[in-house]
């Protein structure tokens, strides 16, 4: 029960007054930003990154964890009361939650979502405590070829699993890799894509890329297509659940994490797939099939619980392997790198205080969130009425603060705008943003591992596949790559010729 002892130490860290304050501030900010329409967790975390610059790493990550979970809690409020989810994972919450709100059961929908997040987060984080040290132990011996294999898997997964078009996913990834190349080569000091500029020699800060693509790109994109009459949020009272509601939902809350957690840990696009799977499962198992589509409470409880658990699963791969499986994890990884900390198997050995303090603060954050969200939901719902010009002007404002705070350089703001315009173009032409962000963050690292592996093997390509771990990872990658071909074959066998549109 080593993990339990470490967790207790973690609580000792997380429960100091100062860290408790950061956790509370994090969940408050996270919920507020998450409730704001148009801001998903990834943008919330990217925008709030500069808030943590002046803090010690532990305080910063405790605050970060609060922001992450808070943004998810807040996001479901937007989905349920406004029916216009900001991110794909929240789509499911709107499917049953919004009809409930329309039928005057918004309070129950919010309660089912909040408790679902709490249950999912709690179970997910417990699984994280149980599994992460084991995974880290197993992974502790992995070397450069294995890391490179993992990163290749991340690249392929993020371009293949997400979105509708692989070509566009790959294009986005390559744009990210290109941005990651800018600066001095880490091994030889060779200048690459700097065009002789001293500013570019430092490379483009990943924070600026993340804020530019997520925040500026989104704000400009929305500005070009701003809805003249934004949706009216449905007014709601204090969330509560009747006995009948609890009877219908408790199993859904418990089932959600079983679906969400494993999907969060693998690079399969985060909460999107598990929430849909959970929705489908709950629908199949429901005794109240007539309610579906008109406001079935299980359809809110299960998916929201799955979403939170998948966030915990995401942290397993992020902390133990340094592998970001979602946009939020990618931004968090960037934050770790800001402090010169490299997440990976050694993190649990080198920075036990930080890791376990972070994990313990997840529990603290969840309790705080439940306490904040149940009684205060009507207050948060008021944020939905914010005039859109203020909202998007505010996003631009805080994006500028964040980019400027990185190094106090005006040129960073110009780069931020340019990357924002790239993000705008990507949204216009259906290039997913996440592969680009993953490319910037993992690209330089992947190159280093590749070169290190080949250095060890003295240039022989076999040096990349000489461990069972790497071979396994490449097999999974290959499976991901040929999966659409297989599926096409299957559909062809079923004699349903489909036009090769993609």
């Amino acid at each position: 029960m080593d993990a339990l002892n470490s967790l207790m130490d973690g609580f000792a860290t997380a429960l100091t007054p100062v860290n408790l304050l950061w956790a509370a501030l994090g969940v408050l900010l996270g919920t507020a930003i998450g409730v704001l329409p148009g801001i998903g967790p990834a943008m919330a975390v990217a925008l709030l990154l500069p808030v943590t610059y002046g803090l010690e790493p532990i305080g910063a990550f405790i605050m970060f964890a609060g922001i992450y979970y808070g943004a998810m809690f807040g996001g479901s409020t937007t989905s349920i009361l406004l029916n216009t989810p900001g991110e794909s994972a929240a789509v499911v919450a709107a499917m049953e939650g919004n009809p409930m709100a329309k039928a005057g059961r918004g309070a129950q929908a919010l309660a089912a979502a909040a408790i679902g997040h709490f249950a999912g987060g709690l179970i997910g984080t417990l699984l994280l405590v149980a599994l992460a040290p084991t995974v880290a132990d197993l992974a502790v011996d992995i070397g450069a070829p294995d890391y490179f294999a993992i990163m290749v898997l991340a690249f392929i997964a993020v371009t293949s699993v997400l979105g509708s078009s692989r070509i566009r996913g790959l294009a986005s990834l390559l744009i990210g890799l290109t941005l990651g190349l800018v600066g001095l080569d880490q091994m030889t000091g060779q200048q690459r894509l700097t065009f002789g500029s001293l500013q570019l020699a430092d490379g483009i800060d990943v924070v600026i890329v993340a804020v530019g693509l997520f925040a500026i790109g989104e704000a400009l994109w929305v500005a070009a297509h701003l809805r003249r009459s934004p949706g009216k949020p449905i007014p709601v009272g204090r969330p509560w659940l009747g006995r009948e509601d609890v009877r219908r939902t408790w199993k859904s809350w418990l089932r959600g994490p079983l679906i969400g957690f494993p999907f969060g840990a693998i690079p399969a696009g985060g909460a999107e797939i598990p929430t849909f799977l959970s929705y489908a499962t709950e629908k199949r198992l429901s005794k109240h099939k007539d309610d579906w589509g008109k406001g079935a409470i299980e359809g809110v409880a299960g998916p929201e619980s799955a979403a939170s658990a998948s966030a915990a699963g995401t942290l397993v791969s992020m902390l133990t392997l340094g592998l970001p499986t979602t946009a939020v994890a990618a931004v968090m990884l960037a934050a770790f790198q800001q402090y010169g900390i490299q997440p990976g198997p050694l993190l649990f050995e080198r920075e036990p205080d930080l890791v376990w303090g972070l994990i313990a603060s997840l529990f603290v954050g969840m309790v705080l969130l439940l306490a904040l969200n149940l009684p205060l939901a009507p207050v948060w719902a008021k944020l939905l009425r914010i005039p859109r010009p203020y909202l998007y002007a505010g996003i631009l404002f805080f994006a500028a603060v964040g980019a400027y705070a990185v190094g106090g350089e005006v040129i960073d703001l110009v780069i931020l705008l340019i990357i924002g315009l790239i993000g705008f173009g990507m949204r216009r032409y259906g290039l997913p943003v996440l592969p680009a962000v993953i490319g910037v963050i993992l690209g330089p690292n992947a190159e280093q591992q590749l070169r290190r592996a080949l250095q060890i093997s003295d240039g022989s390509v076999s040096g990349l596949v000489n461990t069972p771990f790497a071979v396994t990872v490449y097999a999974v990658t290959a499976l991901l790559l040929i999966w659409p071909l297989l599926r096409k074959l299957v559909t062809r066998v079923r004699a349903k010729p489909e036009p090769a549109a993609k």
Partner: protein, 188 residues
């Protein structure tokens, strides 16, 4: 990489030749404006390759893979993807524009707002050093809100000033992230 290029890239200044053919050509280009993305990817690929191939690498290269290899792979990848995307677009594939809470895709894109926002952003970036963050930040917020259609002359500047000053104090004095105060903070 300007917004203009992402709009209707490569639209030539149409000569006053037969209006019908130029009209159809323009319609075709508009329909296939995604080809502009291919052009940009192609240009980026060429840029990355040129940079990689003109690199001086006789300085201490450690290991068999030098600083050139990965840029070459990325550059070639960009060229290949540009070609594949072009084929996909010509075959009728198209990337779906991203939806969202406040996004109304039924209306054509409002370029004026986007350019205005970009201008306001650049302007504030330039002003941040001479005027200090509180003033430049307030101008950014007010300008952006104005560009987005807010015309409350009584409220907007006040909100902008309060937000900017508050952010400055929180970051500079509480969170320990220094921001330039400018002459205004010198006076206060």
């Amino acid at each position: 990489m300007t917004t203009r290029t992402t709009d209707v890239p490569g639209t030539p200044p149409t000569p006053p030749t037969p209006p019908t053919s130029s009209d159809t050509r323009r319609a075709w280009l508009r329909e296939h404006s995604e080809l502009g993305v291919c052009v940009l990817l192609l240009a980026l690929g060429v840029l990355v390759l040129t940079d990689a191939l003109t690199m001086d690498v006789d300085i201490t290269q450690r290991g068999p893979v030098g600083p050139k290899t990965v840029p070459v792979v990325v550059g070639v990848g960009l060229l290949v993807i540009a070609a594949l995307l072009a084929v996909d677009v010509l075959r009728g594939g198209h990337g779906e524009a991203e939806g969202g809470e406040d996004v109304d895709l039924s209306e054509p894109a409002d370029w004026r707002t986007v350019l205005l926002l970009a201008g306001v952003f650049l302007g504030s970036a330039v002003l941040i050093e001479p005027l200090g963050f509180p003033v430049a930040g307030a101008l950014l917020f007010w300008g952006a809100a104005f560009a987005l259609g807010s015309r409350r002359l009584d409220k907007d500047p006040l909100i902008a000033a309060a937000l900017s000053l508050f952010t400055y104090v929180v970051f500079n004095n509480l969170l320990g992230v220094p921001l330039p105060g400018g002459p205004l903070m010198g006076v206060l």
